[in-house]
Amino acid sequence: MVALMASPATKTGNGDVARAWAAAAAVPDPEVPCVTVAELGILRDVTIEDGVAVAHVTPTYSGCPAVLAIELAIQAALLDAGFEARIERVMSPAWTTDWITLEGLENLRAYGIAPPVKGSTSKLALFGEIAITCPRCGSSDTQKVSEFGSTACKAHYTCKACAEPFDYFKCI
C-alpha cells in the first residue's frame, strides 16, 4: 500500500499550511538528532483545521519511549511559529523504514549509523544474509553483535575491517 505523504514539495508556497509544515518538519528526532521528523518519515502530514495546526505523527515502534518527547517538540515548534497546535497520532498504516527520505538515509550514514538495507548485491544474500556496510570505513565485512541495540529501532554491529562498533537502523 502506498500512502500519499506530505513532503516539502507538496507544501511549498506562502500559505499557513506551508509555514506550519516547515516549522514541524525541522524538529530533530530526540534519540537520533541527525535526522528530522520529516526525514524519518514519522511526520505524515500537517493540516490546518478550524485555525489549529494539526500534525499527524506515526510512531516508529509501539513502545518507542521518545514518542511523547517528539510530539511535544513538534507542538512546541508549531507554537513558536505562531500556531495553535495539536497532535494526531496515526497508527495505520504502520511506519516503515521505507519512509525515511534519501536525505535522512545519508544523514544517518554521516552520523555513524548504518541506514536500513532492503536489497543486497552481496553474494551472502544468496544465503539469506544481508550485508551491512560499516558507516565509518565502508567495508561490508561486518558482524551482527546483537539484534537489539541502544534504542528499539537499532541493532548492534561491529566492523571486522576497522574494528569499530556501530549501530544499524533496522529495516522494518
Binding site: 510512531p59 509501539s62 513502545g63 518507542c64 498504516p93 546483537s146 539484534e147 537489539f148
Partner: protein, 257 residues
C-alpha cells in the same frame, strides 16, 4: 442482547484481556533490566519489554475509548483488583532462570505473531488492524530472538540442556490457556474482529516443534492443563506483581509525573 452499548462490551473485555497479557509479560521481562546474563541480552530483554508495554498502552487506550466511561489507559492498567485482570497464567509465571524466561517468551510470541498477522490482514476493526500492523513485525523479532536462544541452549552444554528441558516441563501445561477462548473472544470472533484462537494452534505448534527439534528438546506430554487467568483466577505470584506495579498509584493516588 439489545442496544449498541451492550454489543460493544465483548470488544472491551477482549481488548482488555489482550492488554493485560502484554502488560504483565512486559512487566515480567522488564524485571531483567540490569540483571541479564550479558549486556547485549540486557538490551534485548529491555527492548522486548518496551515492545510489549507499548502494545499494551495502545490496547488500554483503545479499551478506554470503547468503554467511554471516563477511565484512562492508566486507570485500566493500574487501578483494578487482581480478580479483574484477565491475563493468561503463562505471562505471570516468575522469571526463574534465563531458560524459564526465554521459553515463556517463545511460547507467547509464537502465539501472538500469527494472532497479529490475522488481525492485520483480516480484522473488521480498523484500530486493531492499525495496532496489529506494527505489533506483528515486533513479534516476528521476539519469535526469532527467543527461538535462537532455545536452540543454542538446548543444543548447548549438558547443564544448559537440562535447564532448558526443565523450563519447558515447568511451563508447557500453561500453554493450552492461550487457545482457550472466552465468551468475549468468541463474540468478537463471530463479528470478524478477532480470530478464532483455536485456528492459530497449527501455526504455534509448527513453530514450537521446529525450534524444539533444532534444540534437541522434547515437548512433554501434558495430562492436565493449568488455566484460570481468563476468569480472574491467578497464581500467588500475580499479587506480588500488582503490589509492585500499583505501588505508586496506591500510595499516592492520582500522582502525576
Amino acid at each position: 442482547m439489545t442496544g449498541s452499548a451492550v454489543l460493544h462490551l465483548p470488544l472491551f473485555d477482549a481488548v482488555l484481556q489482550l492488554a493485560d497479557d502484554h502488560l504483565i509479560l512486559g512487566h515480567r521481562v522488564s524485571e531483567w533490566c540490569g540483571h541479564a546474563p550479558m549486556l547485549e541480552e540486557d538490551l534485548g530483554l529491555a527492548n522486548m519489554a518496551l515492545d510489549l508495554l507499548g502494545q499494551s498502552r495502545a490496547l488500554y487506550a483503545y479499551a478506554a475509548d470503547i468503554e467511554g466511561a471516563g477511565r484512562s489507559e492508566d486507570d485500566l492498567a493500574f487501578l483494578r483488583l487482581e480478580r479483574q485482570y484477565r491475563n493468561c497464567l503463562l505471562v505471570e509465571r516468575p522469571n526463574g532462570d534465563f531458560a524459564h524466561t526465554i521459553v515463556r517468551q517463545l511460547y507467547f510470541a509464537a502465539f501472538m505473531h500469527p494472532f497479529w498477522q490475522w488481525l492485520s490482514a483480516n480484522s473488521a476493526d480498523e484500530t486493531l488492524r492499525g495496532i496489529a500492523g506494527k505489533a506483528q513485525k515486533e513479534m516476528a523479532y521476539h519469535v526469532r530472538h527467543a527461538g535462537e536462544w532455545v536452540v543454542r541452549l538446548g543444543d548447548g552444554t549438558e547443564e544448559s540442556a537440562i535447564r532448558m528441558q526443565a523450563a519447558i516441563d515447568a511451563l508447557h501445561h500453561y500453554t493450552d490457556e492461550l487457545f482457550q477462548g472466552s465468551p468475549a473472544m468468541t463474540a468478537c470472533a463471530q463479528d470478524g474482529v478477532l480470530p478464532d484462537v483455536e485456528t492459530l494452534r497449527p501455526a504455534w505448534s509448527a513453530t514450537i516443534t521446529d525450534v524444539f527439534g533444532q534444540g534437541l528438546l522434547e515437548i512433554p506430554d501434558v495430562a492436565h492443563s493449568q488455566t484460570g487467568g481468563r476468569i480472574g483466577e491467578h497464581g500467588e505470584e500475580m499479587g506480588h506483581i500488582l503490589a509492585e506495579l500499583q505501588y505508586m498509584q496506591r500510595t499516592y493516588p492520582n500522582l502525576q509525573w
